[in-house]
């Protein structure tokens, strides 16, 4: 072990304790009323909760939409109000809400806001006012999106990918107002996110407390930080695409609209390139997968390490893998476009990059498993969800290898196999992490534990249920059942058993959806009746668990910000008073070689 304390006035080498914090402090805004404390709050913790609650609220809409879609697929005609138009509208809104307004917002706006300042020892985000604006613009984006249900013609039914020319043409549901509302909402979301994202990045760059070097940051922060950088660079693609499509729809330009006949009549459009939209969309769309996945990777690393009482295996490799995946994810976008008619040479290139990105991803999976190896595994709720994530992500990733190869993808394209794949890898897997993270950090946010029995029921129903839903869906895809079909009718190559399977999937989906109500009940019930958590119920090392108060007060740290003396994974430390050493703890004496190295770190 190396003592890296240097001389000078900031040194604590002789005593092992550094003197007080001597560099500049952020000017905090101190709320003067209930409204500025809880509504128009500039405190990142409150903003995080606002993001979380809004994302969950709109997520519930997406859940109900998925139920309605499943009802149509299993019992066509049972709910007479679901016609083809509504079905496509439900698909579109479900997809867009889940990917953008729930997952992205919850990981970056929710967990990012709560954890970045606390885990880095900062008092708040660097630009609290901008941070507040970010949330309110996000809320506006959500409301505009939801307004799509009430405008003439309803929301757009173009599919979450919003491909032109279909998205604009007259026969597509929501072509009147729905598509406009969707594009405006996305643009608002991106503007709001950019405000928040700037905050997250600058806080990581400039807001870290003394001793918190980059390589001492918990992997949660690495994941959120890298994902934010990616989002800041990728969202402009969606923004440009949205602006251009809005021009096409409102001003009659032809960025994406080719010369085309609509309902028997030649339209005024001409010369646009639909493929151009696909390139822009997927230039955002594929990094988006990792914008959701990287925070999940980071969080799950911390959950596993904490609840297995073992330092994370290969921390440096984990950091490099996160950064490497972030960079590589920008050169794989066209694997979503193998059937778009693009140059086959590109297909080879993008298949290769897609397979290359599997290397750092697999490395992370190995490191999680090796962290668990001979760990003191506690099957707490966060650990259960983390384990569920690893298995699910692995499953989803393996089917991704099929779809990443051109020759396999072409026959599977636009089948239920694709739906099953992306639901496993970027639907179920990150949502399991969100649940795990909420069970893990709820005690810090509220001061109370969530009910374990309810949580375990929630976990097993969700985890097993997700497999019962999506495993059979792969099989449907292999049979050739297409995605985005309102009804199959008489189709020779699809056996009747597919309909039976659809019924089974739907019933399971209804049960799994209902189990989420149990989770919401637990959140509300435990707020008042949950067991008192104390400051650090998981005996975790990271800074957010070392705050003087729980829940942390405004400014987080009382009179003085903490000083960091070690990395975030000193668990099962031989000779330590407890089996862990918090990041802000100077001892044990670092000059004794090997004295304070956590189990497995040697």
């Amino acid at each position: 072990m190396v003592d890296v304390t240097h001389g000078g006035p900031t040194s604590g080498a002789s005593t092992g304790v550094a003197p007080g914090f001597e560099i500049g402090e952020l000017d905090l805004y101190h709320p003067k009323s209930w409204v500025t404390k809880y509504v128009f709050s500039q405190d990142a913790k409150v903003i995080a909760i606002q993001y979380g609650l809004t994302a969950m609220a709109i997520g519930l809409v997406a859940l109900v939409l998925s139920w309605l879609m499943r009802m149509q697929l299993a019992f066509p005609g049972l709910l007479p109000f679901i016609d083809a138009d509504h079905y496509y509208q439900f698909i579109t809104m479900h997809g867009m809400i889940m990917v953008v307004y729930l997952l992205t917002a919850l990981f970056l706006g929710g967990f990012g806001n709560y954890l970045i300042p606390l885990m880095l020892g900062a008092r708040d985000m660097m630009f609290p006012y901008l941070n507040m604006l970010s949330y309110w613009i996000y809320l506006l984006a959500v409301l505009v999106l939801a307004a799509g249900f009430f405008v003439p013609g309803g929301p757009t039914g173009a599919g979450w990918t919003l491909y032109p020319p279909q998205a604009i043409l007259g026969n597509t549901p929501g072509h009147q107002w729905g598509i406009i509302v969707m594009l405006v909402s996305l643009m608002l979301f991106i503007i709001g996110f950019t405000m928040g994202g700037l905050n997250y990045v600058v806080t990581v760059l400039q807001g870290r407390t003394r001793g918190m070097t980059l390589m001492r940051m918990p992997l949660t922060i690495w994941g959120i930080f890298t994902a934010t950088v990616m989002a800041l660079l990728a969202f402009p693609a969606l923004f440009v695409g949205a602006v251009m499509m809005l021009f096409d729809r409102l001003l009659g330009t032809s960025f994406f609209m080719p010369a085309i006949v609509e309902m028997g009549e030649q339209t005024a459009y001409g010369g646009g390139s639909p493929i151009l939209f696909q390139h822009l969309f997927w230039f955002f769309g594929h990094p988006e997968v990792y914008i959701v996945a990287l925070p999940a990777f980071g969080i799950v690393s911390d959950l596993i390490s904490t609840h297995a009482r073992k330092n994370i295996f290969g921390y440096r490799m984990m950091v490099w893998a996160i950064v490497g995946i972030g960079a590589l994810s920008f050169v794989v976008w066209a694997h979503h476009m193998y059937v778009s008619g693009m140059n086959p040479g590109f297909g080879f290139f993008f298949a290769t990059t897609t397979l290359i990105i599997a290397i750092p991803t697999a490395l992370k999976v190995y490191n999680w498993v090796l962290t668990l190896w001979r760990g003191d595994i506690h099957f707490t709720l966060p650990m259960l969800f983390a384990l569920g994530f690893i298995v699910t992500f692995l499953n989803g990733g393996l089917t991704g290898l099929f779809l990443g190869n051109v020759v396999v993808d072409v026959p599977l394209s636009d089948t239920m196999f694709v739906v099953a794949h992306f639901h496993m890898v970027m639907g179920v897997a990150p949502i399991l992490v969100i649940f795990g993270a909420i069970y893990h950090w709820y005690p810090k946010i509220t001061g109370r534990m969530l009910d374990t029995t309810l949580g375990k029921i929630h976990f097993w129903v969700t985890f097993l249920g997700a497999y019962l839903i999506f495993f059979p869906m792969h099989y449907l895809g292999l049979l050739g059942v297409p995605r985005r079909y309102f009804e199959m009718g008489e189709t020779a190559f699809v056996p009747p058993s597919a309909a039976t399977l659809n019924v089974f999937i739907t019933i399971t989906a209804l049960v799994v959806g209902a189990a989420q109500m149990l989770f919401l009940f637990n959140l509300a019930w435990s707020l008042r009746h949950g067991r008192e958590a104390g400051g650090n119920p998981w005996r975790a090392t990271t800074l957010e668990w070392q705050t003087p108060e729980t829940p942390p007060a405004h400014g987080n740290w009382g009179a003085e910000r903490p000083t960091v003396y070690r990395w975030a994974y000193d668990y099962s430390v031989p000779g330590a008073a407890e089996d862990f050493l918090p990041q802000n703890q100077p001892g044990p004496d670092p000059v004794v070689p090997g004295h304070a190295i956590a189990e497995g770190a040697r």
Binding site: T5, H6, L198, L233, S273, A601
Partner: protein, 234 residues
Amino acid sequence: MSIILLFLAAIVAVVFAWLWRHGILAKPWLEVGVAGGYPVTDPSAARVAKVALGVFLAVIGSLFALTVSAYLMRASLGDWQAVRTPGILWVNTGVLALSSLALETARLAARRGDMAGVRAGVLAGGATAMLFLVGQLIAWRQLNAEGYYLASNPANAFFYLITALHGVHVLGGLAGLGRVTWRMEQGAGVARLRLGVDLCAIYWHALLLIWLVLLGLLTNWVGDFVAICRQLLT
């Protein structure tokens, strides 16, 4: 999409250099103590604001690199009919360069503590930026009068889109500069204005640089350059 990939490659290079400087090869599990040897974070308002502006400019850079990529991708198709570049664009370019220069003089004056210089630079910078926007509107009117309507063909649409996107960013800059001007008029001293002027000057230089690239694109110089590069590579 080659332009955006080149832009991202540059960003990746900067990021990796930065990570290297911050000890991406460190072995934190072997280190205890207040780590020295790595750059210390500096939460001073000036440093934080400049870093934030740098990140924001990267976002804007990505937006324009994507727009340029889309333009070149569409322009490479056979039926592309480029817009005749209005002559006033050259005048506008000069005006924007003057605006940038004025803000640079304001920045230098702020460093010297010369309030009169700051005032002159800020006011001149703002006025010329507004003149640039008026000039861009005149360019639109000229094109419109000549029959280059927005919806006539994709090249026209791209011209209007690109100039509008850039104009909106100039407007945003003017909002920031307006705030600095308002503070100046309220009697703020040079010390309070220095950071705002500094940020505005950097932003203006970036917008000038972006505009020069866009101008090259609209006059087809960038397209020719890319075609030559392609030919060399193939």
